[in-house]
């Protein structure tokens, strides 16, 4: 078997108005972050159903991060407040079930925070890489 450097799979959900724009700004400013991060654009962080997160883990993602506008700045006024509650409860539950809590994260990144986006992703990838592969939620059948 070929030994390759372990590279975590990271799914990042970014809201269209702030965080996706923040990711674009990171690109505009050429602020590097690992290629392991793949972004899914959603209109608002509140579009992220906990099922999507579980789905990602089931399919072999090693970390899932949700980025939205800062509380109070949501393009839709209150979307990220719901996200905050949903994810607080979901993450606490995953932790309760013994899933490493470092694999999930919510970060507020505004359209102006390209640097924060890149820094967040660098940090998150590092954290997840240190944990190694997600074995606890991955469904190996999905690898077939």
């Amino acid at each position: 078997m070929q030994v390759t450097e372990y590279k975590p799979k990271i799914v990042a959900f970014c809201c269209n108005w702030c965080s996706y724009a923040g990711a674009d700004l990171a690109g505009n400013n050429r602020l590097a972050y690992p290629a392991e991060v793949k972004i899914i654009r959603v209109p608002c962080s509140c579009r992220v159903n906990p099922m999507f997160i579980l789905r990602a883990f089931q399919r072999g993602a090693d970390g899932v991060i949700i980025c939205g506008c800062h509380p109070g700045d949501c393009h839709y006024t209150s979307g990220n407040y719901y996200t905050r509650r949903r994810m607080a409860l979901l993450f606490s539950m995953l932790n309760y079930l013994g899933i490493e809590k470092e694999r999930t994260r919510v970060e507020w990144v505004s359209a102006a925070e390209g640097a924060k986006f890149a820094a967040t992703m660098n940090d998150f990838v590092q954290t997840v890489a240190a944990l190694g592969e997600n074995k606890r939620l991955e469904d190996l059948r999905c690898k077939l």
């Binding site: 579009r47 072999g60 393009h75 719901y82």
Partner: protein
């Protein structure tokens, strides 16, 4: 099964430099549904778009994926391209392989690999796309301008001149804003009042403009074209339509010791007052914090002297609800508090003042009738020290503001020049870090201050001001001479940084408009859409968006007005078709979605369903008002049964993306 075309853009070398575009288009050919895949130097160019159009026709494409720059950049472009070739524009998906791939990764192998995955993800999504048609909503042909300074005035006049109704909400008793407090304007030195007050009169007399002075916005609901705004008209205890503005009450009021905010507290006004002679509307206002009658029920002098009978001590705050198609924010700025800058002795000496206070001291309508006198002893100052960048260009929020306040260099040059002009026996020092004069005739103006008027410009910063007797000892560095200077000054003028008005933050929340870390409103695009907020239907005018001088403010005000006119000229707005949609067969009618909807777009109705056993049954189901729904998707997660889904961002689509990434 879809017939998908994949178009990989090189973006010159922007993408092709880090991503092997050939390999990407080859690899994506093998993805399910893909029948055509190619790459080209600039997909957004006419030639690139033609490739897409031709491919749509030739290969009978039902969906396309463009691997290019951010969808925030060219999604609209490619949607139009698709539409022009007869394909539903919502059958287009963009894989962002520039901002989120080639620009952030250096290694070509890594970049190519990621670009393929991003392409695959977009293909997975487009496989589940469905053609969408946007709905339409009507436009209320009236605009609201929040703030009645020069920015708001200019925007309102321009919109009204185009024939649309405009309301101005101003929290002060009069419109005019900061410009009304200024003496002269740089670089032409025309008198601020002379150019502003005619505009104020125009506003007052314009048949399309209503002024809600002494009023504030209480709440905002709705969306572009259909805002509903609740405006609070604070009780001014004077009937606006009856008061003639004669001013007799303001002379007779026995409560004389009210700090006059128009003169920044450098003199006093009465409890009933008209802020200044050219106020619009020119009506008196009773300040309830000081009025003896309102506080104790005893006095009533103003009521006795008012021959028009305009005084009404029983007045209450009034609330007005009005509909608007567009909202312009023009909330302006304030100088920052000087409290944190102890070293300049602002709170210790009356003779250390801010530049705005200096404006009032030199203004003919100011507390000294335009004669430059020290606030402490009313003597002519012989030595004046101007300090620039006080609180601007600081690192960290606790020290001041990180940005350059932009206007200080020019107004300080103006103050220095005018002082030397009127009082040639005065020594004037300006301590600067840099003198920033980009603007038409700006540098010439500054040079005149130095060369013709003999203002001493010293490169260096004042370290300390200490009051000694009736003098102010100024200790500063002269960097070019490499000396420390000790100047005995009579007056020190601080060019205080400017910050957005405190009302801006809560207003931004009401409007769901975004702000930067300094509380300046964010523009939809810093270069291409500088007068629009990212929130549709909300526009920005003046210093609420960033520091700017009067000419810039006026041009931005005009630009905002042009955008508003463009919006109000439409009878109908085409909506965003990516809205929520409830599957009635699965809906529980549980109201969870309604509770999280920020727009009140969801209602319920009892609907009859035919059951498999041919009986019918009534059930409560959710209905989405597509014109009101903005497509955030909060309801889709709140819905326990999964009946609620979002068009364009359907759960199945997002899960397909997740799968494609994790594959």
């Amino acid at each position: 099964m879809q017939r998908i075309g994949v178009f990989v853009c090189w973006c010159g070398s922007n993408i092709a430099g880090t991503v092997d575009v050939e390999a990407v288009s080859e690899a994506l050919k093998k993805e399910p549904g893909v029948v055509f895949s190619t790459n080209y130097q600039y997909m957004c160019s006419q030639a690139g778009q033609d490739i897409i159009k031709n491919a749509i026709a030739e290969h009978k494409l039902s969906g396309i994926v463009v691997c290019s720059c951010s969808p925030r950049m060219h999604e609209t472009t490619f949607r139009k391209t698709a539409a022009a070739a007869g394909l539903n524009p919502y059958m287009v998906e963009i894989a962002n392989i520039r901002e989120q791939c080639s620009w952030v990764h250096k290694d070509k192998l890594t970049g190519t690999e990621k670009a393929i995955i991003l392409g695959r993800t977009a293909i997975a999504k487009v496989n589940l796309n469905a053609p969408l048609t946007p709905g339409e909503s009507p436009v209320t042909k009236r605009a609201l301008v929040i703030g009645g300074g020069i920015a708001g005035i200019q925007t309102a006049l321009d919109i009204a001149d185009a024939g649309f109704e405009v309301d101005i909400v101003e929290k002060q008793p009069t419109i005019g804003g900061k410009m009304a407090q200024l003496d002269k304007t740089f670089p032409t030195l025309d008198c601020a009042a002379c150019i502003l007050t005619p505009k104020m009169v125009d506003v007052a007399q314009h048949e399309k403009i209503r002024i809600f002075s002494y009023s504030e916005v209480e709440s905002v609901s709705g969306f572009v074209g259909n805002f509903t705004v609740n405006i609070k008209k604070k009780a001014r205890y004077v009937k606006e339509d009856v008061c003639t503005g004669c001013g007799l009450c303001t002379e007779k009021c026995p409560q004389k010791n009210v700090p006059n905010e128009f003169n920044l507290g450098m003199d006093n006004r009465r409890a009933i007052y008209i802020p200044f002679a050219q106020a619009v509307p020119k009506v008196a206002t009773i300040d309830p914090r000081y009025c003896t009658m309102l506080k104790t029920g005893k006095c009533g002098v103003c009521s006795k002297v008012c021959t028009a009978g305009a005084i009404d001590y029983k007045a209450k705050d009034e609330y007005i609800e009005e509909k608007y198609g567009a909202i312009v924010v023009a909330t302006g700025y304030n100088p920052i508090s000087m409290e944190k800058f102890d070293e300049f002795a602002y709170s210790q000496s009356k003779d250390v003042i801010t530049s705005l206070e200096f404006e009032r001291l030199t203004n003919a309508a100011g507390p000294t009738a335009g004669v430059l006198l020290r606030p402490s002893d009313h003597k002519h100052p012989k030595t004046i020290v101007f300090v620039q960048c006080v609180g601007s260009r600081c690192s960290g929020a606790e020290k001041g503001k990180e940005y350059c306040s932009k206007i200080c260099c020019m107004y300080t040059a103006k103050h220095a020049m005018l002082t030397r002009d009127k009082y040639p026996d005065t020594d004037v020092y300006v301590f600067y870090i840099d003198v920033r004069t980009p603007g038409k005739a700006f540098d010439e103006f500054y040079r005149r201050a130095v060369e013709e008027y003999g203002v001493h410009y010293i490169k260096g910063m004042v370290g300390k001001v200490s009051p000694q007797g009736d003098k102010l000892m100024v200790q500063a560095s002269d960097l070019l001479a490499n000396k420390q200077l000790h100047i005995e000054a009579d007056l020190v003028v601080l060019a205080a940084a400017i910050e957005p008005d405190a009302s801006a933050r809560p207003l931004a929340t009401m409007l769901t408009a975004s702000m930067d870390t300094n509380d300046f409103f964010t523009e939809a695009h810093p270069k291409l859409r500088p007068v629009e907020s990212p929130t549709a239907g909300v526009f920005l005018s003046g210093t609420c968006q960033g520091p700017k001088d009067i000419p810039e403010t006026v041009s931005q005000a005009g630009a905002a007005a042009a955008k508003v006119i463009g919006l109000l000229a439409k009878d109908k707005l085409t909506g965003n078709p990516c809205v929520a949609h409830s599957n009635e067969l699965m809906c529980n009618g549980c109201s969870s979605c309604e509770r999280v909807c920020p727009y009140g777009a969801i209602t319920y109705e009892d609907k009859e369903f035919r059951m498999p056993d041919r009986t019918t049954r009534m059930r409560r189901v959710a209905k989405v008002n597509e014109a009101v729904c903005q497509g955030c998707g909060a309801c889709t997660v709140a819905c326990p049964s999964g009946a609620m889904d979002l068009k364009g961002f359907a759960s199945a689509q997002i899960m397909a993306e997740v799968d494609a990434i994790c594959k």
